[in-house]
Symmetry: C2
Subunit: 136 residues, 2 copies
């Protein structure tokens, strides 16, 4: 079971990582942690690199703490549009699931245009959505 | 693994059923097929009962054809608001996953207010979304 965990550093991503770890540990697994740095048309700045590393570390730490093997965790940092990159990486890496959090019921307006929403519209892969109410 | 498969009779529900069957067969499973008849404030009409039975049958047939045991499939027909009922039944039945299709990239506007969208906002359970591009 190959799982893609897109992360933006939010608590929703952390919850998704906990769920992904639980699923992974019941299978032969490979975990891919992805952070997309918004592409503003300039090359990535030093502070953005630090931020991206830190966002990836948060998730990697959660996975390792849950019992996942560091050698089975790959991390990818990409520049671009988050939903497009998530769908692209899921395809290129032939993942079985995208495991992603959502901010949920803070209002339809807020979720429209959200990353999860756009991923659901264009993904070729199954998407496991971890809602904010889910008790991890 | 207890899976809830909400169905509206669409091809998206059929795809979700195929995915649910595949997951189920790799676990000790129980499948709950749910159809919600929109509640118009009147008691359910004969044609609505027939329609609901038919919608349930489509999914049950897919599950059985995929190798699932009829005795492990429960079906529920409810009146009311679809997303509310789906979330309520998922909670009452303590399901592990809601497996649901989505119509996807026919436009952000179309998906807003859709059943899947509202389920994602309010669910306590994990939601496995089967996108329209998924190759079942």
């Amino acid at each position: 079971m190959k799982l893609l965990i897109p992360t933006d550093g939010s608590v929703y991503s952390s919850n998704a990582a906990k769920v992904a770890a639980e699923i992974a540990l019941n299978h032969d697994y490979k975990l891919v942690v992805l952070h997309v740095v918004p592409d503003k048309g300039f090359s990535r700045k030093t502070w953005q690199n630090k931020g991206a590393d830190s966002v990836i570390s948060i998730i990697t730490d959660i996975l390792i703490e849950a019992g996942c093997d560091e050698n089975r965790i790959e991390s990818i940092i990409e520049d671009g549009n988050a939903p497009e990159k998530i769908v692209e990486i899921a395809r290129n890496e032939s993942v079985d699931r995208i495991v992603i959090g959502t901010q949920g019921k803070s209002g339809i307006k807020k979720i429209v245009g959200s990353v999860t929403e756009k991923v659901l519209q264009t993904s070729d892969a199954l998407v496991l959505v971890v809602p904010p109410n889910y008790n991890v």
